[in-house]
Amino acid sequence: MTGAVDQDGVTGPILRDRSGLAAVVGPIAWLFRWELRLQWRSFGRRRRRRTSVMIALMLVIWQLLALGIAYGFVRADLPPLPPPLPFAALTGALFFLFLGMSSTALDAAIQAIYARGDMDLLLSSPFPRHAIILVRVTAIATSVCLGGALLALPLANAFILLGQRAWLMAYVAIPCLGLLATSSGLILAISLFRLLGARMTRLVAQILSALLGITFALTAQVPNLLRVSDTDLPGLTRLAEGLPGPENIVWWPARGALGESWPLAGLIALSLGCFAATALGLAERFITSAIAAAGIGTGARRNRVPAERAFRTEPQAALRRKEIRLLVRDPWLLTQIARQVVFLLPLTLVVWHAQAGGSSGRWLVLIMTAGYMAGGLTWLTISGEDARDLLASAPLTPGSILRAKVQAALLPVALFMILPLMVAGWFSLWLAFCLAVCAAGSAVCCAVLNYLYRSPARRNLFARRGAENMLRSMAELLIGATWSLTAFLMLNRTLWALLPAAVALLPLHRALRRSSWRGALPQSSVRR
């Protein structure tokens, strides 16, 4: 193979004219650059510059926020925690980070096995098989480490800037955790493949990854759930007495992250060893998994044969039924919806602890949840339509199609709300009424918002819905907050409740009148 320069300036590998280490490292580095480029492009095809600016902006905001948090901690001059609580707190933080990274790693491993579809091409090239796997696994580890670093390093930077140099060790600990998480993600993916086979693994792994993500969100709330204040010394001492002593091996990762030499050396050795063993030891299985995955469908086979039944062909009902079927047959989508709803949990706990609006105020989070769910489901039914041309060529008005789709999106939200509303009704009928009205308002407004800001997308990009249009996501949260305020004021039986409701409804009503259901489904701009 000889070298060449492509249009982006990436030079092709020269396998023949080099010798020694360069002959091995050169092609691997070349392929690694391709991997990173493809991963970067998976963020979005057309708006990469905008994405870069958004990421940079968010990073700056997060860094400033982290500086504020760190300054608050340093300035508070808290009393030292009884041992081993500092280790326990740090272990918790590392575990939290590890869960998030493992979720990303499992997702990336499954993506590498199933979705990229370039394994046949790579394996048919004169590249050594192990080099291909090493590059792919290293690219996964890079993305996992980068994700963890973006989340945790701004906080470490803030403490370093305020003079706490021990936090420099985060620059070692996070890559170590990333390598461990990558190894665990790969081992899990390949074990599932061996246990369940190609057909089931993707589904189970995606659900598992979503569950890990949910646990990640829940772990972040442990301090809130425990309700232990950092100034409650007797409580903290009692908590410390129930934990293993500071010398126990369970605290080694935390001690390593704090810069103690032996635990740190152990952490580095463990992470590098695990990663190397996984990358080299599982290479062959990774290849066979990818080859096996290329030859199968993507979902579970339906073993149960339904009874033959008559057709039902009322157009609106047919559309609603289709949307519901597509949703309930995709457990991955259901877990993604659950995952997005779980990210509202921090807000739930803040409201819960703040007792905002009295004891009834705790219910207001349901209104946010209804809105967020409706927004997500409407995105799926309208923006995530798989066969736009089919619907556009059907003898139905765009309005009737879109109305059926919005109805299909709102139906699961209504079902989800029944039980909480019944429980609320058991406490107070007025509470249930206020919740029902405001949850319906929140859900309808979020659905309309997703109708107004629709753009064609594949359903499997649902997890990135928020990043695709951040303004829309912020507006969804704002709508939920506005309807929660309406409910709060309704519970206090004041006519001022009409004001936030009007604020939520009027702009959407005006926008909707302008579009008047005439707009068709979002069409791809492909010119044929």
Partner: protein, 250 residues
């Protein structure tokens, strides 16, 4: 051609950043099997997408069995079926559910739709897989399921964009037989294909389009006469016509 044209296109024009279709004129009679041929980017798919109502033309008119497709798209769509090269399927539906869904969109009587669905799935050898999700299907099976969807409402005008791409010989023959059967029963079919042998054997009349304009139209004999290539294959005639227009400016 019958007294009422199945499809009548007059002065159809569409531009994106450059003209894609330029003043296209086309008349098709009922039951006619018409092949719209042309090199890549000639404007074939854009034309079909305008007929089916997926793209609004810049100017011109489209009439389907006397119905103005631009003024009354719902009535026009009721008579049309469109089958693009990429099957418009839902992975998480079974073929039977997919056909039930299509029947719903076209408001077909449920009993008639059920009978028709069974007939089509049996004719296309998909009946044993009627309860499997479409995501399990090969490319050919997906194309057959999509074809069944296009035929379930008994369209009077069938628009097929590269329907045989990627199909193996056996499946391609099944599809061709089904299409010929439909044409014999009065369905007007417009087919685009790059497989000129197929066009030569299937269609009654051929239109060759390039740079958005109709270069030539007629049956194979008429095209041979026009190009002075008696006894030549459609491929020769096509290449001769297209090569003669290569210098046409965009």
């Amino acid at each position: 051609m019958t007294s009422q044209d199945a499809l009548r296109i007059t002065g159809l024009t569409k531009s994106f950043d450059k003209p894609a279709v330029r003043g296209l004129e086309l008349r098709l009679g009922q039951g006619e099997f018409y092949g719209l041929l042309g090199p890549n980017g000639a404007g074939k798919t854009t034309t079909l997408r305008m007929i089916v109502g997926l793209l609004p033309p810049d100017s011109g008119s489209i009439e389907i069995f006397g119905v103005d497709a631009l003024a009354d798209p719902i009535a026009a769509k009721q008579m049309i079926a469109w089958l693009p090269d990429e099957p418009m399927l839902y992975d998480k539906l079974t073929p039977l559910e997919y056909l039930e869904f299509i029947a719903g969109l076209w408001r077909i009587d449920p009993r008639r739709a059920r009978t028709q669905a069974q007939f089509l799935l049996e004719a296309l050898d998909l009946w044993p897989q009627r309860h499997d999700l479409c995501e399990e299907f090969s490319r050919g099976m997906k194309q057959k399921a999509a074809l069944a969807g296009a035929l379930i409402h008994d369209p009077k005008l069938l628009l097929l964009d590269e329907p045989l791409t990627g199909l193996d010989a056996a499946i391609a023959r099944q599809v061709k037989n089904l299409l010929l059967d439909r044409a014999r029963n009065g369905c007007t079919i417009v087919l685009t294909t790059h497989i000129l042998d197929v066009a030569e054997r299937l269609v009654d009349r051929i239109g060759i389009i390039q740079h958005g304009e109709l270069l030539a139209e007629g049956n194979l004999e008429e095209l041979r006469t026009r190009t002075g290539r008696q006894g030549s294959s459609l491929e020769d005639v096509f290449l001769h016509l297209v090569a003669g227009q290569e210098s046409v400016p965009a």
